[in-house]
């Protein structure tokens, strides 16, 4: 019997090792799998590369992982916010590396990884600092920048409901990066508000099919 449910958030993040790349869902705190990030802080892995839209908010979740100096590099689109003081401090100390990626390129690079795409040309960022040194090509009269996929060892995502096969549905704008990150990691862990019986989720409305998900934990 397939059963991707795990008993605790601590068990759900087992296997994250030093130096790994970890995707963390969420746009600000909407869709941020806070319980899994807290478990990752307890778990102890360091020297991590974190892929997330932001670089932590206030004194919670990813911000605390950064504060604990467990993050070597952040790949994100919008690190600077009014409450990103832990990232800001380490960045100014040059104690954390930043790869700044336009938000749509971030999303598409993650999607490309999940979809098995080797690289893609995008118009976003052409002629800007964020495309410096990158290969470009004029296609049909328009200029494009070559961007590569972002793969991860782990993806931590938050969904509303999930079942033991790992099928997921999300809630409102908390969906954001969840579905694409789920497809881009070797091990995807979903924190769900409620685990439901197999068959309870309407197949017409499942957003992330269980094939992309490896562990499901209620939190």
């Amino acid at each position: 019997m397939i059963d991707k449910r795990v008993a605790s958030v601590d068990a759900a993040v087992a296997g994250v090792a030093d130096g790994m790349t970890v995707m963390i869902g969420g746009f600000g705190t909407a869709g941020m799998p806070a319980a899994l990030v807290d478990a990752l802080i307890r778990q102890g892995a360091g020297d991590l590369t974190i892929v997330s839209n932001n670089a932590g908010n206030a004194d919670a979740g990813l911000a605390l992982l950064i504060k604990a100096r467990r993050v070597r590099k952040v790949i994100c689109s919008f690190p600077r916010q009014t409450d990103s003081w832990h990232f800001d401090k380490l960045y100014k100390e040059k104690a954390i590396e930043l790869e700044l990626v336009p938000q749509g390129n971030l999303a598409e690079r993650i999607r490309a990884a999940g979809a098995g795409i080797g690289a893609f040309f995008t118009p976003t960022g052409y002629g800007t600092l964020l495309a410096e040194g990158k290969e470009t090509r004029n296609i049909g009269g328009r200029d494009y920048v070559l961007e590569y996929p972002i793969h991860a060892d782990f993806a931590l995502v938050k969904a509303e409901r999930g079942d033991r096969w790992g099928n997921l549905v999300y809630r409102k704008t908390a969906r954001n990066f969840g579905p694409i990150m789920a497809s881009a990691a070797r091990c995807t862990v979903a924190q769900v508000r409620r685990i439901v019986e197999l068959g309870e989720l309407d197949p017409e409305t499942i957003v992330t099919p269980g094939i992309f998900v490896h562990r499901v934990v209620a939190a």
């Binding site: 705190t29 749509g104 598409e108 999607r111 002629g127 908390a174």
Partner: protein, 211 residues
């Protein structure tokens, strides 16, 4: 000197939106446009974190932390709204499906280059979000900004000195002094605030204007 108020600028931007238009309003000044959408037209607001059919801010006590806009402020949905993930949301933008986006700016050049994401200062922590995708993606890219900086310099320039968001991407500029189109023949003045004449506008603007 008479200037358009921020609300007058917002109302003027909104008057351009055609029936059925899909529109993304950037963070800052452009968010004001939502208060001035023409009541006789259905305009659908997109927010890049994953919602089409964004409604106004909720009443106090009705905020939902899972229902926010790109500025991370609580919003509502209108009937017919839909949610989607980020790759789909940016496909709507990059793929040319949005009719209009309205962005704030530090500078716009005479050829429509846009600078609005980074001051380039040595201590500034850069953050870009969806600005570059919006700049190159929408069918019409509008900029809404003060005409002059606080120190009185024109924000419409021959060449941007701040780092670019997009190259030759702006179609129309709405300032507190004028509405100006970016055309292959240069900057064309469409409208001016009351009492302003072209000579005075030209004196204040860093690059040649024509009627």
């Amino acid at each position: 000197m008479k200037r358009y108020t921020r609300d007058e600028m917002a109302a003027r931007v909104a008057r351009d939106f055609s029936e059925g238009a899909y529109v993304n309003l950037g963070i800052g000044l452009p968010t004001l446009v939502a208060n001035h959408l023409p009541k006789d037209r259905e305009i659908i607001l997109h927010t890049e974190n994953g919602l089409l059919g964004m409604g106004p801010a909720p009443g106090k006590g009705s905020e939902d932390p899972d229902l926010i806009n790109a500025g991370k402020q609580p919003v509502t949905t209108v009937p017919g709204a839909s949610f989607f993930h980020h790759a789909d949301s940016f496909a709507m933008m990059r793929g040319g499906h949005l009719d209009f986006c309205v962005l704030g700016a530090f500078q716009v050049s005479a050829s429509g280059d846009l600078a609005n994401w980074h001051t380039g200062g040595p201590d500034a922590i850069p953050a870009v979000g969806g600005a570059m995708d919006l700049a190159i993606g929408a069918k019409k890219v509008y900029v809404m900004m003060e005409h002059l900086t606080k120190s009185g310099e024109s924000k419409i320039v021959a060449k941007c000195t701040y780092p670019l968001t997009g190259v030759a991407c702006v179609n129309r500029i709405f300032t507190d002094l004028a509405v100006i189109d970016v055309t292959p023949q240069g900057l064309k003045v469409v409208e001016m605030a009351g009492g302003m004449d072209l000579n005075e506008l030209q004196r204040l603007t860093g690059v040649p204007l024509h009627e």
